[in-house]
Symmetry: C2
Subunit: 226 residues, 2 copies
DNA sequence: TTGCTCCTCACGTCACGTGAGGTGGC
DNA sequence: TTGCTCCTCACGTCACGTGAGGTGGC
């Protein structure tokens, strides 16, 4: 039945394990129990095979990506995310605290395709800020944008409250580029030929460097205060 | 009674609120309920006034600083931290998973005074790594070191597993310095004369920049994989 | 007397993890 | 038949937060 559903719909229906695989790259600590938990809290509603196996449609997966992204990037509790999604499903135009505006209702299903105007609307920022961000390399130029770019814009928006503009922050992009060179070179030199374990090594090393930077920044902030 | 205790001991005994104030700089999201919770879990044992008010000695405060630091910098669950401290109190020489070795038993009460050898022991790293770290500006030269420097050394130790040395990472320090200049200038320009709110602004802006960098790094890692 | 800080105790909450006992599909 | 994936349901857990009802100290 599952495979016939697959064939007839044309859309891929994924099992819980397959969903996990799909999202493992973006969300490494996703677990089956977390996915079941999200269903229990009514944040996603996968359908079921006659035997009771969960089957996730590609929209379900997008919805998950969306939810997990809000959790990770905006530190939002699930209750708030649920209320937002419920309002969306009811056809409303909800807003989220501190997140400016989230990906437009119409765009929820096609998350890789935010137009320039949708992006501006969603991030709640000015034309100027976006073009500054682009010209300083913090967001790639183009006709379509990803939700990640919205997050970038939102942080830039917040930074502006302190008088800090994309121009001040263009160095960050260069830092990241150099760090990626270092990280990928190191991961490559680890000698593992498997692509997945190279990716894992890159992430781990990158995390270590993050922690180093974190400690140094904290120290610096402490001495700044005294 | 409290004040007489203060006078007779010479050591300052702090109320729960005063402890909060003291640690607010290093641990901004510390709360009274968290302090009570830590006592409930037997991680700290403040004494009491006859009326039942908690009084924290300076050793208690150091112990708290130690616990909160392990939580924050090493992501250790309290149960593990408790077992470690219990073993210490019993006179043992416990170890912590992934943390190399923690500040030496004898040094628990005098946390700002790690000697060079204590630091090496605690971080579980080589002479060479420490001198490299110092010569590349990641740790200040001197006869005594702080626990923060141990954390730095431990991350450097982990980075070495990937063939990444202090020399590769000296750029991080320069990045942090430039970021501090930016941050303090911006916070200063905010016009608030209160030192505390300037510090708060610095921390907030610094957090925003962190998030920006985080998103950019994540993006970069994702594209690295594909 | 008025605030303010502090107290206990019970209960709630948030985000899952675990494990028993069982079924489905190749 | 053997694995493997998946299922439910109950319970556990971790790290606190909340709120009622009350006391202590200047």
């Amino acid at each position: 039945v599952v495979s016939s559903a697959r064939a007839s719909s044309g859309a891929s229906l994924l099992s819980i394990g397959q969903v996990l695989q799909r999202l493992a790259g973006e969300f490494p600590d996703l677990s089956p129990s977390k996915l079941r938990f999200l269903e229990d809290r009514d944040l996603v509603k996968p359908s079921r095979t006659p035997a009771g196996y969960r089957t996730y449609s590609s929209q379900d997966v997008e919805r998950l990506r969306f939810i997990l992204g809000l959790q990770r990037d905006h530190y939002l509790p699930l209750r708030v995310i649920k209320e937002y999604l419920d309002e969306l499903d009811r056809g409303g135009q909800p807003s989220l605290p501190g997140v400016a505006r989230v990906v437009q209702p119409a765009a929820v299903g096609r998350r890789d395709a935010l137009t320039r105007n949708e992006l501006l609307e969603a991030a709640g920022c000015s034309e100027q800020l976006l073009s500054d961000a682009i010209s300083h390399g913090l967001i790639p130029a183009g006709a379509l944008f990803a939700p990640d770019h919205q997050v970038v814009l939102e942080t830039l928006n917040e930074a502006e409250r302190f008088g800090v503009t994309p121009r001040h922050l263009r160095g960050i992009r260069l830092q990241v580029e150099r760090e990626m060179e270092l990280v990928s070179r190191a991961a490559g030199a680890m000698g593992s030929t498997q692509k997945s374990s190279q990716a894992e090594a890159s992430r781990e090393l990158s995390g270590i460097i993050m922690q180093l930077r974190h400690v140094l920044i904290r120290q610096a902030l402490d001495t700044l205060e005294s």
